[in-house]
């Protein structure tokens, strides 16, 4: 219910009008790359193009704050400019000192009380959004996901659906009339991380020995990008993050295929055997095999993902080989060790991995 309410956060007509004005300014300022329609996945993770309720509530608050601060800037800035231009000493003047003025209690009172009122208004507007986003209660239809931050990749578990995947989160689109928001429980396996998809929600940190949570309810299908936003070590920069917002049917199909155990084809048995007797299995899990490590991403459906190395490279044959043999070429400092396989073994392993759809 709380979720319903907050989609209808009421704003006065004045606020909306000001927000519109400000949005124009903001768009002009922020990005010359034109303003496409709202609520669309875009390659630019622009916080001013929200596609989910938490991001949208934040967006509207931010416009309100921008208007207020913009007005303050214009007023105080004009006064300063006026003073600088008007009161500069002219060469023509006599050497007399200007009249000393030591202060004015009326003025001081004025510029104390007015900021107090502004602060009060800003605080109330802010607190309303804080409570609406943080106190939202998951409806029964909500998807529950557990996100676990690792150096330097993301693990996603869907406990109710029995799915474990990595780096690319799939969620269903949420229709306002029948909301299916996704509530994400945030954990960390090592250092601090932060989950940030600017178009879907503000960031929330993943902190070891602590449970955080956040939620999104994307309004439009598509792929949304983001990345780790809390410095977590050497490869913080390449701890990229993708959220695929699927139609309900696509999402159901994706869940079905992810739930299946790994394909076990005889054509790539050689590669599988190499994987099973090398160090791969210490860190990676492939269902139906002896590989059950949890330090690295689950590879059961590796080929269902568009990228490898937490978004650092497209999931292509060449990249996969390179990543196995020489991870530092893609992501120097990542915790994936170079496997030092013979060329033939490397081909076999790659072929096996490419069978994991």
């Amino acid at each position: 219910m709380a979720l319903r309410n907050l989609t209808n956060l009421t704003y006065s007509r004045f606020e909306i009008a000001m927000a519109k004005v400000c949005f124009m300014v903001a768009v002009a300022l922020v990005s010359a790359q034109s303003c496409f329609a709202f609520a669309q996945a875009s390659p630019v993770p622009n916080i001013f193009k929200p596609a989910s309720t938490p991001a949208d509530a934040t967006h509207r608050l931010s416009l309100f704050v921008l208007v207020i601060t913009g007005l303050i800037f214009v007023i105080v800035g004009s006064l300063l400019t006026y003073a600088v231009v008007k009161f500069r000493r002219r060469d023509t003047e006599d050497g007399r000192e200007p009249a000393p003025v030591y202060g004015s209690n009326q003025m001081e009172l004025a510029w104390t009380v007015i900021p107090c009122l502004i602060v009060l208004v800003l605080f109330l507007a802010t607190a309303r959004v804080i409570y609406s986003v943080q106190e939202a209660v998951p409806p029964a239809t909500a998807i529950q996901v557990t996100a676990i931050g690792h150096q330097f990749w993301w693990e996603f578990r869907y406990p109710a659906l029995g799915v474990i995947t990595a780096n690319e989160l799939h969620v269903p689109v949420s229709d306002p009339s029948h909301p299916t928001p996704t509530f994400i429980k945030l954990l960390s396996a090592d250092t601090d991380h932060s989950f940030w998809i600017p178009q879907l929600a503000g960031k929330t940190d993943l902190i070891p020995n602590r449970t955080n949570s956040m939620w999104i309810d994307p309004h439009a299908t598509g792929m949304y990008v983001g990345q780790c936003a809390q410095y977590c070590g050497t490869q913080h920069a390449k701890m990229l993050l993708r959220v695929y917002v699927d139609s309900p049917e696509d999402f159901a199909r994706w869940v079905d295929s992810e739930k299946r155990p790994a394909i076990s084809s005889d054509a790539v048995a050689a590669g599988r055997q190499i994987v099973e007797r090398t160090a791969c299995i210490n860190c990676h899990a492939i269902s139906g095999t002896v590989a059950n490590g949890r330090f690295g991403p689950d590879l059961t459906h590796l080929m269902s993902r568009d990228t490898i190395a937490s978004g650092a490279a497209p999931n292509t044959h060449e990249n996969l080989k390179l990543w196995i043999q020489q991870p530092d070429a893609i992501k120097p400092g990542s915790l994936m060790p170079a496997m030092n396989l013979s060329p033939q073994d490397l081909d076999e392993v790659t072929a096996y991995l490419e069978s994991l759809r």
């Binding site: 630019v44 916080i47 977590c232 490869q235 120097p332």
Partner: protein, 557 residues
């Protein structure tokens, strides 16, 4: 009166004049010499940390650049931040406090001159210890490595498990050492102001610079000590196997954040309040009017001091505090904007109706006012917690705090350097080069930090050694890097001006600005022990009273 009569010169054969000069500087306990040492030390580290910033900006000029390795980039931003805060800004401001406070309150030295020297050398060796990590980080047999945990060094990244070798040890030990230096200086500043004021200088007649440094020193005592305590805990963890921030043993990473930011946020005000102090002294002189609303300025500063102790967790809106906790830190954060706004209005009131003289120090002050205004307003945006969920740890934050630290604090420091240069050296700086420096720096600053806000709004996180193409960040990063280079040229202009004027500048005389506070009543540079006869004052502008006996201030205050 003649200064020669009290100048204490070492009598003896000048066998090794250079060696003697070094000895006299190293062993000095004179507040002015220590002040100059602080300032020179800070300028040296400014160049080093500026170079580190330039390296980072070159790496980020295009996506997927390979100028430096990720490890080196991470060391660069850690060292840049740590150096700029602890070994540039703080020593610079302590240097000015050391130099100016006794002169402005009519005292012959600080209250504890030897403690003063100890504090300086602690700070100095703290900085050297930090930089020794480049050689000794992993032990001399390894290549050595600087710390790479970021300047706020969030746990558990600093734990032994994630930070092998000794680089983090160098970081934490150097901050403990320099922290004791800071605390010593703060004790000294407060004792000096409390116990050494010249007759007649009641608290209400003290120059604002002394008042603001008093508040700053009080904040150092309350806010820097927790940093020292937290670093001691980190040492317990790293050296003795403790578990304060060990998340594997039930320790809390969030506790470190609280401790760090309980220091970290007041630290911003510790830096900016002395900057306010410079502006509060310089703007009146170059407007030819007394400061507007002196008591309100004092009250606002004290108010900032108190409120800023209650805002620290606004750096932690994204760590999952309760809605109540978040709201609390929203209101305190916004409240701190009120006294800050009052100060801006009072400076405006000082300029209003004056006759503004745009010498270099005043130019820097005017730029300070505009830039501090913007920095405050982006601060309000960041204080609105939901907006912060988007902006925190993005380049918007980086732009915001550089607006504060460069746009406000560094600009005020440059104003102060130009304003008191004639007092410290006895020679006038070159006005043309000063203005060139100003305009280059303004252009470079705005190219860099105005445009740095935008990638933050477009989702670019901070502390990334590289970024993906196609996210709309390329052009902004390019502009930012270009701005950095312009700033670098400006700084070199400044250094050139400094060196040139030190030796070739024309003699300035004791009072080149026709100013009103006591430091301008003694020779330039002031003799040892400053005042032959301890002055007596009757108003906030003792030199005005002296120059205008027909219309003294004390009749009105």
């Amino acid at each position: 009166m003649s200064t020669e009569s009290i100048a204490l010169t070492t009598v003896g054969e000048p066998a090794r004049p250079f060696g003697d000069a070094i000895t006299s500087w190293v062993t000095t306990v004179d507040h002015k010499r220590l002040g100059v040492l602080y300032i020179l030390y800070a300028l040296l580290f400014l160049l080093i940390a500026g170079l580190e910033a330039t390296i980072m900006r070159i790496q980020l000029i295009v996506p997927h650049n390979h100028f430096v390795s990720p490890q080196f980039f991470n060391q660069m931003f850690t060292m840049h931040g740590t150096t700029m805060i602890f070994f540039v800004a703080m020593p610079m401001l302590f240097g000015f406090a050391n130099y100016l406070v006794p002169l402005m309150i009519g005292a012959r030295d600080m209250a504890f001159p030897r403690l003063n020297a100890l504090s300086f050398w602690l700070t100095a060796f703290g900085g050297l210890l930090l930089y020794f990590s480049f050689i000794g980080g992993n032990g001399l047999y390894g290549a050595g490595a600087a710390p790479d945990v970021g300047w706020f060094a969030y746990a558990p990244l600093t734990a032994k498990a994630f930070s092998l070798g000794h680089s983090t040890d160098f970081w934490t030990l150097s901050l403990i050492v320099s922290g004791f230096g800071s605390i010593g200086t703060a004790v000294n500043i407060i004792a000096t102001i409390a116990s050494m004021r010249c007759p007649g200088m009641t608290l209400g007649k003290m120059p604002l610079l002394a008042w603001l440094n008093l508040v700053m020193a009080g904040m150092v005592l309350i806010a820097v000590s927790p940093l020292t305590a937290a670093q001691l805990m980190l040492c317990v963890d790293r050296f003795l196997g403790g578990h304060f921030f060990d998340t594997q043993a039930g320790g809390s990473a969030v506790l470190w954040m609280h401790f760090f930011w309980f220091f970290g946020h007041p630290e911003v005000y510790i830096l900016v309040i002395p900057a306010f102090a410079f502006v509060s002294e310089i703007v009146p002189v170059f407007s030819r009017k007394p400061i507007f609303g002196y008591p309100v300025m004092v009250a606002a500063t004290v108010g900032i001091g108190f409120v800023s102790m209650t805002v620290w967790a606004h750096h932690m809106f994204t760590v999952g505090m309760s809605a109540y906790g978040n709201s609390f830190f929203v209101i305190t954060t916004m409240v701190v904007g009120i006294p800050t706004g009052i100060k801006i209005f009072n400076w405006l009131g000082t300029m209003w109706g004056g006759k503004l003289i745009f010498k270099t120090p005043m130019l820097f002050c005017v730029a300070f006012l505009f830039q501090f205004l913007v920095a405050g307003l982006t601060g309000i945006m960041l204080g609105a917690a939901p907006f912060n969920w988007q902006l925190n740890n993005s380049y918007f934050v980086v732009a915001h705090f550089h607006y504060v630290i460069v746009g406000a604090i560094v600009f005020a420091i440059f104003a102060a350097l130009y304003y008191w240069f004639p007092k410290m050296t006895g020679r006038m700086y070159n006005e043309g080069l000063g203005k060139l420096h100003f305009w280059l720096f303004v252009i470079g600053f705005h190219l860099t930090f105005d445009f740095m806000h935008i990638p933050g709004l477009l989702g670019m996180p901070r502390r990334v050694y590289t970024y993906e193409p196609g996210r709309g960040w390329e052009v902004w990063n390019l502009i930012v890097t270009v701005g950095t280079i312009v700033q670098g040229i400006a700084i070199l202009t400044f250094a050139g001006n400094l060196l040139y004027s030190m030796f070739k500048g024309r003699f300035a005389g004791s009072d080149p600005w026709d100013a009103w506070t006591l430091e301008w009543s003694v020779a330039s540079p002031p003799p040892e022990y400053n005042f032959v006869k301890i002055p007596e004052v009757r108003s906030r502008r003792p030199l005005w009273d002296l120059k205008h006996p027909e219309d003294p201030d004390w009749k009105y205050e």
